[in-house]
Symmetry: C2
């Protein structure tokens, strides 16, 4: 071998912050108080934690779980556990007790680090998770009681431990992180990241055309550390040594605006809901906040409304970048930036591009295919299944759940997408929600977005209902606003000049509410059961 | 395996330009004329070339050499040869005939692509390189004669070939590129890059903190494509699809300034000599050029003078970034950017940092060690051997030449360096030039730089001469300017408040000229022989 086969290990990247940015701050908002320390502290406490975990019996490959908000302690676990060769398993604190117990047992977690205020979530399932050997509690009071045993105070546990730890040289394909998807059907499925996959994801994220984060930035991820590793930003932070800001559990518009201002944040990232809240706060309080340091915001999780993108760019002068990814893609899969030639395009045409979720990241490949596996036309209209491939995409779920999602070495995202002439992807629907009418696909999401912009409409969901001739036809389920007077004809008229004629729902029903999942997404599964035998007019 | 083991192949990166930036320009200056085409053309012609090479019998692993200036045709070879699984061997056209023949045979090149005007270089050694099966000539006239055989016209050879080629899926550790170092002693030694090493180098280079190139940039590498792959920029260009500009063979200040202006270049890279020429041209012609698009320039190869860095930043308002690397490091090893806290530092202190060659790149590791292998103090003063390690560093020379350069899995760069408290490296000397006095090291380069700034001094070299008590002591060899009247005492006085007292040369000799190598570097080997038995005053 002519080039060094130095393994791609997270330790090589993550030690750079403590080494080259020892005096740079890491800021955590903790119940209103601001905690500050530096990468030197992170390095020291992280190694103390590694020694403590080793003494508790944690060995290479063992799962160390977290059930916690974003904070410096959580970051210490992010740092120490992969570097020492163990596996960081971030538990989603929004899950049902049933799913939480399932996941802890499926992952075979040996240790759980838990925020004091989240202890009740674990206590409720204490007798179902008997294989967990230790609970380590993040506590500010230093004074907690729990029926979980044995339970340690995190700070006391690491206190006095050696701050020296030689990270092991291990195989780059060793596991280092585990995240479960909160699937709406069946049990959650685990994505097991490796050192190699996460190393490549991290440097890819830091490309100027990726999220473009630099050593000189102050970055606030308004993304839970239990969601796809907070989009990988804690890792990039440790590699580059940029100032990191953790917003804690309060993510309302006012709290976020205050932190963006006070910490002089330059790059931030979050889901559309967060930015809707920030926009509302800024509009309600003109001149209150100085956000002049902010230069770029990344938006993912779901498609942001066009007006939101435009408002941040035109009114606030901040670059608004849509990105796409999933737990199974580490998560960064695509980023929507304008190509140079588009800089002179009319604004509306630019927004057409910025509403798409971007071009597949360098190093990954994407295909949009029809039911026969053939690539659809790149015209921005033809819909197909989005398949992806690359070194930071899962090749199987942990313990080989759901093998049908991995056809021919690709990962079937479960998204229905289009791809335009310029190579930009857009997510049209989730595969299970798309309506299949006479062999053609109709996007439920597109029509819902249009309907929810209609005056008098509070919420709307569109589902497929069995049809003798077309297999499926769309049915619109609409929730009126309190005082609204709208009819089926109004709804169809509103849609008629905005979608293809054959997309128009065969019927409209008015309902009191759209059923929702525990995380607040439309639960169309429930709607479909409810309207299973619905008779469409002929 | 839970994550895809998709191999890290250059084809995945390099196909992105043709795919996502088909209409972006690639501009080549060819003997005064400007040639323009697009990434779509590159993709098409590159695949035609692959088919042509396949028909000529080129198989996976075979070496295809180039002896050429920078141009779109050279780029097509850069693209096609690695993607088809063969090895791109870039021949240095400045080498002696003897070394050229040695390298071609050592590499066992089966094909050589050669610029028409460089044919004489090969004809001179025609009877020594009989294993080469085909010569392919880059010609604009379409009309050349040569005694080399068989010789093909490049454009005619690829014309009519299919522009369809399915790049093979090969092992990521397969070789893809070969560069020889023009060593000043012994035969040149080969660095054989692999797909994996070059893939990692490419994405690392595109990090915002690396060279920071983006899709939106126009990049001109004023670095020969036969020198360490033009610092990797042709690969980054194909991956990101940015506009590339090739300056051709004319690299004087006026030509470079004209291209920077006409093509609206935003990022450029080259050695100090280039930027000295550009500075002279701009100073001689104030207001002549509009370089307002230029935002950043990277400088490597040797240390740029402090005044040069300051001039470009203060006078021209362009970020001037020093980088360090070598053929053996792919080449990018370190980049000198200011840390955020340094933004408020006094200018002179900032320049102290910018004169150093930077912090080791993410993914690589550096150690500066004394003769016993212990790390020297990080105080910016203690000198030691610079060792590096990482996935884009050579692990051995091709055919295992010079194994002593690879102690314990590290690569001994042959540079003597210091590292400061902030982690910035600086190259103090080449190991073979450093003067070892009583167990301590004296940097010849530092004293030469000081002496060459002394009024009346045209050139100066400092070498070690054998000394009974101290093993070695410095001797300054000084070339006076034509009309200068300076004495030994003047020289020592000038040095005395700028270096440690024990560094002061024991003697000064005035010489007519400093001997130079074929590429214009000081040839201290010759000087050392000349003064081998020099009697230092006691």
């Amino acid at each position: 071998m002519t080039m060094m086969k130095t393994p791609l290990l997270m330790k090589t990247l993550m030690d750079r912050g403590p080494m080259f940015a020892p005096d740079v701050e890491i800021v955590s908002k903790m119940r209103g108080e601001i905690h500050r320390y530096t990468y030197a502290d992170l390095g020291k406490r992280g190694k103390q934690l590694a020694n403590a975990l080793k003494e508790l019996g944690v060995r290479q490959g063992d799962r160390v779980a977290t059930l916690a908000w974003n904070s410096y302690r959580h970051l210490e676990v992010y740092y120490a556990v992969p570097c020492m060769g163990a596996v960081l398993h971030t538990l989603n604190l929004r899950l049902s007790a049933e799913h939480l117990a399932y996941i802890i047992n499926h992952a075979d977690d040996s240790v759980i680090c838990v925020d004091e205020d989240l202890l009740p979530l674990l206590e409720r399932i204490a007798d179902q998770i008997r294989n967990v050997k230790h609970f380590i509690v993040f506590t500010n009071s230093g004074n907690f009681t729990t029926k979980l045993a044995p339970a340690h105070d995190y700070d006391k546990l690491i206190q006095g431990k050696s701050s020296h730890f030689v990270w092991p040289e291990i195989d780059e394909n060793s596991p280092m992180g585990l995240c479960y998807t909160s699937g709406t059907t069946g049990n959650p499925k685990g994505a097991m990241y490796t050192h190699r996959s996460n190393y490549l994801h991290t440097i890819s994220q830091c490309m100027a055309d990726g999220m473009g984060v630099t050593t000189a930035d102050t970055v606030m991820a308004v993304v839970p550390m239990f969601h796809a590793n907070a989009w990988g930003l804690p890792y990039s932070g440790c590699m580059l040594g940029f100032k990191q800001v953790f917003p804690g559990a309060t993510m309302d518009g006012a709290s976020i605006c205050q932190l963006l201002q006070d910490e002089k944040v330059t790059i931030t990232a979050g889901v559309p809901t967060i930015w809707l809240g920030v926009k509302a706060e800024l509009e309600a309080n003109p001149g209150k906040y100085d956000l002049s340091h902010l230069r770029s915001m990344t938006c993912g999780g779901s498609a942001p409304p066009r007006a939101l993108i435009d408002w941040f760019e035109s009114k606030l002068g901040v670059e608004f970048v849509q990105a796409w990814g999933m737990t199974e893609t580490s998560p960064l899969g695509s980023v929507a930036r304008l190509k140079p030639k588009m800089k002179d395009w009319p604004r509306e045409k630019q927004l057409d591009i910025k509403q798409r979720c971007g071009i597949i990241a360098p190093g990954l490949e994407a295909r949009v295919v029809d039911d026969n596996g053939n690539e659809v036309e790149h015209d921005g209209l033809a819909m197909g299944k989005l398949l992806v491939r690359g070194p930071w995409i899962v090749s199987e779920y942990y313990k080989a759940d759901a093998p049908e999602r991995f056809p021919d070495g690709w990962f079937d995202t479960g998204d229905i997408a289009t791809i335009d002439r310029e190579g930009y992807l857009a997510i049209a629907d989730r595969a299970k929600d798309v309506i299949k009418s006479g062999g053609e696909w109709i996007s439920s999401v597109d029509m819902e977005n249009i309907l929810m912009a209609m005056p008098g409409v509070a919420e709307a969901a569109v589902i497929g209902v069995t049809h003798v001739r077309w297999q499926e036809r769309p049915l619109a389920c609409v929730v009126k606003k309190a005082d609204a007077e709208i009819t089926k004809e109004d709804v169809l008229r509103f849609l008629s000049d905005k979608v293809a004629k054959w997309w128009l729902p065969d019927d409209v029903v008015f309902v009191d509410a759209i059923p929702k999942t525990s995380v607040g997404k439309f639960d169309k599964k429930v709607l479909r059961v409810q309207f299973e035998n619905y008779q469409l007019p002929t």
